[in-house]
């Protein structure tokens, strides 16, 4: 998601990597590139200035110049400073001791509040909470219907009173939710401009009336330099507790997030990465910083794999691995699991998370039909062949090629790759390699 920024930084820092000693000129050149990269990533101007100054100060210091690999040291400094700018740990919503917990969503028009409300409700329901939604956007046509549609698909109640006063409606909705024993209430408000005094006052009145446990600013990750002004204005009005960053499935570099965090000190709680209601993820600053630097987001990948991976399947496979068995059937299972993990983002989205892949993959379209072909080949084998590929001789290969609509070369290729994998898996089974992504740690 931050591809271009990491491109830029990597481009500059790759040049530094090979150097034994850095001149001040080298450092200045690198700082200029970092500055431009951050500006193009929509990081606020003032934040960029501070950031570059800090990095430069440390880069000029003894820790770099005395180092044998000053280039590496600059990379390390940029990474550390970026991480600290993004925040230090995953922040969480706070929940009331005495339910219901009230969460108030606010933000500009079109930032994605209503969708975020639906996603948050789904996430909370998954965490065994009983959420309810309150529609306090009485201005945008059909905003209430939109929330109702989302609520219906989630089987979460939506409380609304048409275009009645939003302050009263919010309070009333929470009472309804309480009466029905719901333990979290998410209040969706109308989008508003930070300079619209009347509307900002309304938001303040809603906050005063319903006394939310969490106020959340919904911020579009594509926002430019204005993000800081908006974030500051909302902070002054309702002093929100955290931010949901939306539309991160695009290619926006998301510098707005860096800036908002740096200027307001408010944590990013969740990132929203698609239009499907399950696409709300926890925000991890250190992972994000790694990602910015093109180091890949391995943790998120592992987490997603764990979530999608069937526990029993995993246990079975682990047992098989210990016995040194890895069959084409397992391979097929894995393939299907990978496909499940890509969850509509496509293979490229998944590969983008792998270390070092980000840059190369950017302009490359992964051929997902390749996966289909492999599947077709394996499915053209009877089970005993899948379990014992050694049986597959020349005539069997021709039969498999014909059955899968491929050719013998493709079948050979797959069997060759599989043999390699089998070898690797044997080593994993003997504990010679760390567990591969997808295996739950136990």
């Amino acid at each position: 998601m931050f591809d271009s920024l990491s491109d830029r930084l990597n481009g500059t820092l790759d040049g530094l990597r090979g150097k034994g000693k850095l001149s001040e000129d080298d450092i200045n050149k690198a700082m200029r590139e970092i500055r431009l990269a951050l500006l193009e990533a929509d990081v606020n101007f003032a934040v960029v200035r501070d950031f570059v100054a800090k990095v430069k100060e440390r880069a000029m210091g003894a820790e770099v110049l005395d180092s044998l690999t000053p280039g590496q040291q600059v990379v390390k400094i940029v990474h550390e400073e970026l991480t600290s700018l993004m925040g230090t740990s995953g922040a969480k919503l706070s929940f009331a001791n005495k339910p219901p917990t009230v969460i108030l969503l606010a933000g500009l028009q079109g930032s994605g509040k209503t969708t975020a409300a639906g996603k948050l409700a789904r996430l909370l329901a998954k965490q065994r909470k009983t959420p309810a939604l309150v529609a306090a956007d009485v201005y945008r046509p059909a905003a209430i219907q939109q929330l109702q549609t989302l609520g219906k698909s989630l089987q979460v109640p939506v409380f609304e009173r048409g275009t009645a006063d939003p302050v009263e409606t919010a309070a009333w909705g929470i009472e309804q939710a309480r009466a029905q024993g719901r333990d979290v209430v998410i209040v969706d408000t109308a989008g508003r401009l930070s300079i619209d005094q009347e509307m900002m006052d309304e938001l303040v009145r809603i906050k005063q009336k319903v006394k939310p446990h969490d106020v959340v600013l919904v911020l579009d990750s594509m926002t430019g330099q204005d993000a800081v002004a908006t974030a500051e204005a909302f902070r002054e009005a309702v002093d929100y507790d955290g931010v949901i960053l939306t539309k991160l499935d695009g290619d926006a570099r998301g510098g707005a997030a860096l800036a908002v965090r740096a200027v307001t000190g408010k944590p990013i709680l969740y990132t929203s990465v698609g239009e499907k209601l399950d696409q709300l993820e926890e925000f991890h600053p250190e992972r994000m910083a790694s990602r910015i630097l093109g180091m890949g987001d391995v943790m998120s990948l592992i987490e997603r794999a764990q979530e999608e991976f069937d526990e029993k399947q995993a246990a079975d496979m682990e047992a098989q691995l210990r016995r040194g068995e890895f069959t084409l059937e397992d391979f097929l299972d894995q393939l299907r699991m990978v496909r499940k993990m890509t969850r509509g983002q496509g293979m490229a989205g998944l590969l983008g998370m792998l270390p070092g892949v980000g840059r190369q993959i950017k302009n490359m379209k992964v051929d997902e039909r390749q996966v289909d072909r492999v599947e077709a080949i394996i499915l053209s084998m009877p089970p005993y062949e899948r379990r014992n590929p050694k049986l597959i001789d020349g005539s069997r290969r021709r039969r498999i090629a014909a059955g899968s609509g491929t050719n013998v070369q493709t079948v050979n290729q797959l069997l060759g790759q599989f043999k390699q994998m089998q070898k690797m898996m044997k080593q994993v089974g003997k504990g010679k390699m760390p567990q591969f992504p997808g295996m739950p740690r136990r």
Binding site: A142, Q146, D220
Partner: protein
Amino acid sequence: MFNTGTEQVAVADDPEERSGGLFRRMRDSLSKSRRAMTQQLQAVMFDPADPEVWERLEEALIMADCGVPATVEVIERLEAESDAGGLTTGEELRTRLAEIVAELMTPPGDPRIDVSHRPSVVLMTGVNGTGKTTSIGKIAHHLREADMTVVIGAADTFRAAAGEQLETWADRAGADFISSQSGADPAAVAYDSVAAAESRGRDVVIVDTAGRLHTQDHLMDELRKIHRVIGQRLAGAPHEVLLTIDATTGQNGLQQARLFAEAVEVTGIVLTKLDGTAKGGIALAIAHELGLPVKLIGIGEGLEDLRPFDPVEFGHALFDADA
């Protein structure tokens, strides 16, 4: 605002009205956000020998989301004029700044919306939350004011309640509404809308589409299909493909414009939400890099809050001290 094919209807471009306040509101709203920048520009007396002056100017443009390449272009032009001795006062500097911005934002071609065909088809595109539906309501309203009949087609069959939102706007504007089932094929809805306009003898068809990120290949393919199907129903259509860009958008706006233009031959930008604190400088970057003109600006949530884009006014509104 519109090229209706009948000359006298083009009231919106009357210079009389323009000076009388057509852009007043835009300037008013822009001036709020501009205060900080203007103060910066005024704070330094213009002295070409002072490198800090140029840095401040650069800063101001970057802060307005104009992006690095467009900022460099503007600054280099100014520096060249300054070196040639053409600029000596802060006032001259500000005036030239605005003029250069205006020049960069005036690509060749008709800045009006082409609705001279019968029916004319306008396809509305953009990423999620940029204001497509609201803009359609406003465009329909302005067309009705110009005595033209309008059909609005709801080809956003994806987002919850998108159709209801659009229908409300169609009612307000007094336009026909062609609805669709949620999950229906958007290209089929677009086709039906054009067919309805033809059979009912309406002047303009505006087709709404679902918001989509330019990085979602399958959705961009869907958009291509909508575009293609409209052309199959009516040769030469759509006559306008408008892309909404939210004025708060940062440098990603450039990528949005680039990929949408690649997919469906965008004819112009609708720059929305200019009534906030955002300066909309990304439109300068888009014009500079892609040569795509801004055709309309959105400055509020009412039916009236749509204006034709005027690069000179925009340039002045960005930098003029007293606007």
